[in-house]
Amino acid sequence: MRDYWLGKLFFDLQSSPSLGAEYRADRKPVLDRYPLKPEVRAAVERDDVPFLAARVNPYLLRFYFVVVGMPEAEFLGKVKKAGAVTAARSSHG
């Protein structure tokens, strides 16, 4: 499943260095421009990698966390945890 506006936010951020700088300085005014569902916006605000990973292309997910400055090791840990969360959900039906 793809969340269009989440993907668009990530796409725009990796396409525009100036937007990326604006976003790093203050996420709120940038997020206000995208019609994100409340639960999706909340997941963006708390860097919820498992939630976001289920809704966006993996390359865009990776680009996004590079743009926001998350250290690579931290991203790798979180994205692997996202896999574990998905597997646990799958195993429960």
Binding site: R2, Y4, G7, K8, F11, Q14, S15, P17, A53, N57, P58, Y59, L60, L61, R62, F63, L76, V79, K80, A82, G83, A84, T86
Partner: protein, 278 residues
């Protein structure tokens, strides 16, 4: 008539540029040797035009408009825009509209309906192998983007047919020019997925064996079955499949393979056998 004078493949891992200092010396040496050799062979083939097949890493297209295959038919394309590619010497890249348009017309005659673009940005997937191969100045390039990033992907079988069509387009192009082809991407890797960083060397080795032998059916069956089961980056092997079709499925010579965890990619480099026609 035009002549196909070389068909090659090269990985294009971004960390070859962005994280080069962290690559182990032995892997630096292996990657440098392979990329230099690919560049040397392209230069030795003396192409008047280079057809290059690569994915688009969310630079030209998004999910509001996502072609399976796009041919760049413009006179000029942009060099890479990634900030970490700022030292890449290619700021503007000449296209070859006449050959590109002939490819599109041939494709339509053969029941393909590719997208066309008159102005593409050629990201690291196009430019790292050219840059690290020492190709400066560049020959004019006909860029072809295959969607390897976002499902649904074109089938492996269709990519092979696309490559065969490219060979026909070159054969029937009326100008007396030399044309080489470079496919980029692969082999196994995983980006932004729970398996990110994992390289499946047994898969890569088996994949290489199939390309070396050249037989169409086992290669198509192997990749059709296995690509959905491994990391998303391996989808780029579709570009190698198109090169395989263009080269006439005679098998290839492996220039190098480097299982390189520092760049997250099982990096492969190859040169196809063209038989007596080259």
């Amino acid at each position: 008539m035009a002549k196909l004078v070389g068909v090659f493949a090269s990985s294009h891992a971004p960390l070859i540029i962005r994280g080069w200092k962290d690559v182990k010396p032995a892997n630096q040496e292996s990657l440098t040797r392979s990329m230099t050799e690919i560049g040397r062979r392209i230069k030795a083939a003396r192409p008047d035009v280079l057809i290059e097949i690569a994915p688009d890493h969310w630079v030209n297209f998004f999910i509001n408009n996502l072609p399976s295959i796009c041919v760049g038919v413009g006179e000029e394309h942009e060099g890479p825009g990634e900030p970490w590619m700022k030292d890449c010497p290619y700021k503007k890249i000449a296209g070859h509209p006449r050959l590109a348009s002939h490819i599109v017309e041939t494709a339509l005659e053969r029941d393909f309906e590719p997208s066309v673009s008159h102005h593409l940005t050629l990201d690291h997937g196009f430019c790292i192998p050219l840059w690290r191969g020492g190709l400066d100045p560049l020959p004019p390039i006909v860029p072809i983007i295959i969607n390897d990033l976002e499902p649904p992907y074109p089938t492996v079988r269709r990519c092979l047919q696309w490559g065969s069509m490219l060979a026909e387009a070159v054969r029937t192009y009326p100008e007396d020019i030399r044309v080489a082809l470079l496919a980029t991407g692969g082999l196994s890797h995983s980006i932004g997925e729970p398996t990110m960083g994992e390289i499946d060397e047994p898969f890569d080795r088996e994949c290489i064996r199939h390309f070396e032998k050249g037989d169409e059916r086992p290669l198509v069956d192997f990749l059709s079955e296995r690509l959905p089961t491994i990391g998303n980056g391996a989808a780029e092997i579709r570009n190698w499949v198109a090169a395989h079709g263009a080269a006439g499925k005679r098998g290839f010579e492996l220039i190098g393979y480097c299982n390189c965890p520092e760049v997250y990619v099982g990096c492969g480099f190859a040169s196809w056998n063209l038989g007596a026609t080259a």
